[in-house]
């Protein structure tokens, strides 16, 4: 039991790192410019020169979802978020989905 919990924990941390990296790549910003200040989605849209609107941002998040499936075998759904949502909540929604899937919910 404890082994399986620790395996999931490692996976979740790997997922967290991967998702953060892929989001940063997709919006063409350094991870440090996004995650420590915990930018909102509007904040990311304003800071990124690559993105023009919320559909572009949705596609950037989709790249992270795809990377999770491709590299870690974790299937995530991209939920609807309002633009004042901090990026940490988006990442946490991915982690929560992965945790729920791992525990068979």
């Amino acid at each position: 039991m404890s082994d399986s919990v620790s395996t999931i924990t490692v996976d979740l941390e790997a997922l967290r790192r991967l998702v953060a990296l892929k989001i940063a790549e997709a919006v063409a910003l350094a991870p440090e410019a996004i995650f420590p200040p915990d930018l909102t989605l509007t904040g990311i849209l304003s800071a990124s020169e690559r993105l023009h609107n919320s559909v572009d941002l949705m596609e950037a998040l989709a790249k992270a979802v795809n990377a999770a499936r491709r590299e870690l075998g974790v299937k995530l759904r991209l939920q609807a978020f309002t633009m004042d949502t901090p990026i940490s909540r988006v990442v946490e929604s991915f982690i929560a989905q992965a945790r729920a899937a791992a525990s068979g919910e």
Binding site: V55, M58, E59, A62, N66, L78
Partner: protein, 274 residues
């Protein structure tokens, strides 16, 4: 072949003009537009306002206000079509012509929508509903920011689908834009991914389809009419199943990609995002 009789300088009705090029498409647009012409003044003259109940008043007021946003939609389409057209001149002249036809269509669309807006807003006044103030009109007229052409077309088309489901008596509106969206995908220059992205934006859980019924509505600069419907005591005339089915059918019309659920829309879109 000329339709002008050189000697007399008059039109010979037996001679058919050639059927190619933009002028032919524009003539067909004109014919279609004239064929569906109707009078807002006559329509309102035939309405018996005494037969309308409180719910009807709420619907009329809401959708009159919502129709105010179709003018900025058509204006945006006119501007974007022309700038996209110029992008393709000399590189893909057929596509440039399709885009110019699309921009030309905006004038007929604008006029048809003027009829819808006028009927509903004037009826709302006849029924002594809450007045739509000038500052509201000005806010609702704000033109959206520019986006990818195919995304724009598909979003406008879904907006029409939603409106049509809300008031099926105006059901003829739906087909207008889809034909042109298909031409953009067929050109190979616009990715069907844009269609799937916008469809996902609407049908995902908590998506645009659910409009003002959502817990949280996005605070935007421009107005998406579906976010601002206020039904108060009246029953919401939503039919999400029907709206979803129409959107799925429309995705297939434009992209030839069959989808039957919100999850399938998301999956096909994610595959294209890569």
């Amino acid at each position: 072949m000329s339709v002008i009789n050189d000697e007399a300088g008059t039109v010979d009705p037996t001679v058919e003009p050639s059927r190619d090029g933009l002028m032919d498409v524009i003539w067909e647009q004109q014919r279609f537009h004239e064929h569906r012409r109707w009078s807002a003044v006559e329509f309102l003259g035939a309405v018996d306002t005494r037969s309308l109940g409180e719910n009807d008043r709420t619907y009329v007021w809401n959708f009159g206000r919502a129709e105010l946003t179709t003018k900025p939609g058509a204006d945006r389409l006119a501007r974007l079509s022309d700038s996209e057209c110029r992008k393709w001149v000399g590189k893909d002249d057929v596509l440039a012509s399709v885009l110019q036809a699309c921009g030309t269509w905006s004038r007929y669309w604008n006029e048809e929508e003027a009829h819808h807006e006028s009927v509903l807003t004037h009826l709302s006044r006849m029924l002594s509903c809450e007045p739509i103030r000038d500052d509201v009109v000005i806010r609702y007229r704000e033109i959206f920011g520019d986006d990818d052409m195919l995304r724009t077309l598909f979003l406008l088309a879904i907006s029409e689908i939603n409106a049509t489901v809300f008031y099926t008596s105006m059901a003829s509106k739906v087909k207008d834009e889809g034909l042109r969206a298909r031409a953009l995908v067929d050109s190979g220059k616009y990715s069907p991914r844009s269609v799937l992205a916008v469809a996902h934006l609407f049908v995902r859980p908590g998506g645009e389809l659910y409009g003002s019924a959502r817990d949280r509505v996005e605070d935007r600069r421009h107005i998406n009419w579906w976010d601002h419907l206020e039904f108060k005591g009246a029953e919401r005339p939503d039919d999400h199943d029907r709206q979803r089915k129409l959107i799925f059918a429309f995705v297939e019309d434009v992209t030839s990609i069959a989808v039957n659920s919100a999850e399938e829309v998301e999956d096909r879109w994610l595959e294209m995002v890569g």
